[in-house]
Symmetry: C2
Subunit: 390 residues, 2 copies
Amino acid sequence: MTKANSNYDKLPQTYLFVEIAKRTAAYQAKNPKVKIMRLGIGNTTEPLGPIVTKGLVGGAKKLEDVNTYSGYGDEQGDNRLRSALAAWYQKLGVKLEPGEIFVSDGAKPDTANIESIFDKREVIAICDPVYPVYRDSNIIAGRKIVYLACTDKNEFFPELPKEKVGLVYLCSPNNPTGAVASRAQLKKFVDWANKNKAVIIFDAAYSFFVSDKKLPRSIYEIPGAKRCAIEISSFSKFAGFCGVRLGWTVVPHELGKLNALWNRRQTTMFNGASNIAQEGGLAALSPAGQKECLKTVSYYMENAKIIKNGLVRLGLVVFGGENAPYLWVKTPKGLDSWSFFDKLLSEAHVVGTPGAGFGKYGEGYFRLSAFGHRADIVAAVESIKKNLML
Amino acid sequence: MTKANSNYDKLPQTYLFVEIAKRTAAYQAKNPKVKIMRLGIGNTTEPLGPIVTKGLVGGAKKLEDVNTYSGYGDEQGDNRLRSALAAWYQKLGVKLEPGEIFVSDGAKPDTANIESIFDKREVIAICDPVYPVYRDSNIIAGRKIVYLACTDKNEFFPELPKEKVGLVYLCSPNNPTGAVASRAQLKKFVDWANKNKAVIIFDAAYSFFVSDKKLPRSIYEIPGAKRCAIEISSFSKFAGFCGVRLGWTVVPHELGKLNALWNRRQTTMFNGASNIAQEGGLAALSPAGQKECLKTVSYYMENAKIIKNGLVRLGLVVFGGENAPYLWVKTPKGLDSWSFFDKLLSEAHVVGTPGAGFGKYGEGYFRLSAFGHRADIVAAVESIKKNLML
């Protein structure tokens, strides 16, 4: 029989969300009248505004008219969108050419596929806890992985790798911890990467949640980053495009042949983001579109504040939730994260995500998400305040 | 410096379309008044009908309403669409479960990514001439490739591989030759694969162009194919979705763990096709939508007939163009395919694709495409009839 890629056997089984669903269903079956509330998912819930919707609808309608119909576009993305993204970076003081920006169908595939352009023998470093895609894509590729602990002792931002590594994945604002890297923290990694000729893969998918002007929204705000960093970002959370699928990856020309390699990877193995989604992206980046999208971002951040205030008032220790849509809650009384899951579900009827599901340093923590309708968020927090026995 | 994946250096430089553009531009610069006509591109040109457009517009508008908004869907695709595809296969007499059908953003990424689930030491066989994505994705993965010659002597359908290979890529209706495999031809490969425990990757992206009831539209119409074949297909040419991005891959349960592996690949490294595109796909698969789409397919096939009749009347030998949108023209007087390119451009002002660009057995052939507006197709054929010196 044709042999399968045995690296898939090395993947940790992703029982996390399966196990959450199982425990939730079991509780619901035993308690059919209980209304279970969810604060666990990282999925947008609020509808699009009229400007972005008009962009998407207009993109679809263009296809009905022979004069505006389009088939395959450039795999790298519509030049208008690449230019609009370059203009958006310009406002952060970051100068990029459209040819350095590759439009895609989202940050997840890009963070998973970027490893393709690197030698399989390069060791990579990722944070623990971590968004599992960085890990799993590199396990499938057969790479050695070094884990960098992120705990309250280092403000959930890793120390520099001690081993020799070729690639480091960083994510800020962070999923799952909600930590946001400062300029000084990022500078430490940029300087290290330039000194050690390593490459940083910077996942900025949540950058639109940063409202504090002191915090960087792009790694290219750090001097020297264009010589060592690839940045991946997304319209998913900014524009509500989780299901629409649109993202981008920046590979600066200063990274030498990596720009040409990513271009080759994308032109060979990808066929461009949906032309409809790209019209929506253009609408979202228009001045009025940005205003519309940021209103929804503010709505989620208000949710985050409601959750954080509610839990802090209960005496819980809560990280994140400021400039990031995730809250990282220290489980009370030293409970492990699955025990806290069970407690929260049975006492307050609220479902969250056990931190242990994101890595061993996630043990003792719990992820809550600010995505959700306001009434549901308020009800969940009220239920926690009223019913959780601490 | 972090080492790059050196397999990229082994990729043949894809000068084909760059060289075509260069020669065309040079000719236009010297002859600014000439109107150059294109019969070379494999890109749809005709607008969508009202039913499919309504599906896409409806998909976009759902996102504006809090009650119908959706974020992330299942990476494997909307269950309604997976079921609609299973129902479509049922009409061919092929029984598939929705869980065997994985919706994606197109056949190109799927044909490129499918190699991920196989051992890198497996040797693969591809046709020559060939759609380059099968070759390039496997070169990037570092695999050994065996080429199977497709010539007029074997009706452009390959002989069985002589070497031991684990995977064979087949494409029918074929890009670039326009050849359509018969049941007997496919059966030969299915039986060989089952006997040798090999896997066939079957690219059926052009199956909707098959109108001859005797010809198979899915490899699963061949007994035993579910035990050895993965089928990849697309809405690009059927529904005019080249730019909308929607396709699917079938991995039957009979293939054992390969179904679970592709599921793991897609859930780890992909985040689902656009929800808007999927609504369009559902509309295209509705009875009225299929009728609407097949009208456009017939339009392109009428183009193919016009090209084929015109060239045959000139005494040229033309393959394909029946049940396939590509025509594979034998270059006259033993001209090599680039010389014929220059001749066609300078004498008839028509641009096509030199067969040599698809592999060494493409030398001496020329690919023409039936995608285009009728008036442009007619004008190009008239110009060839009037001006090409044979």
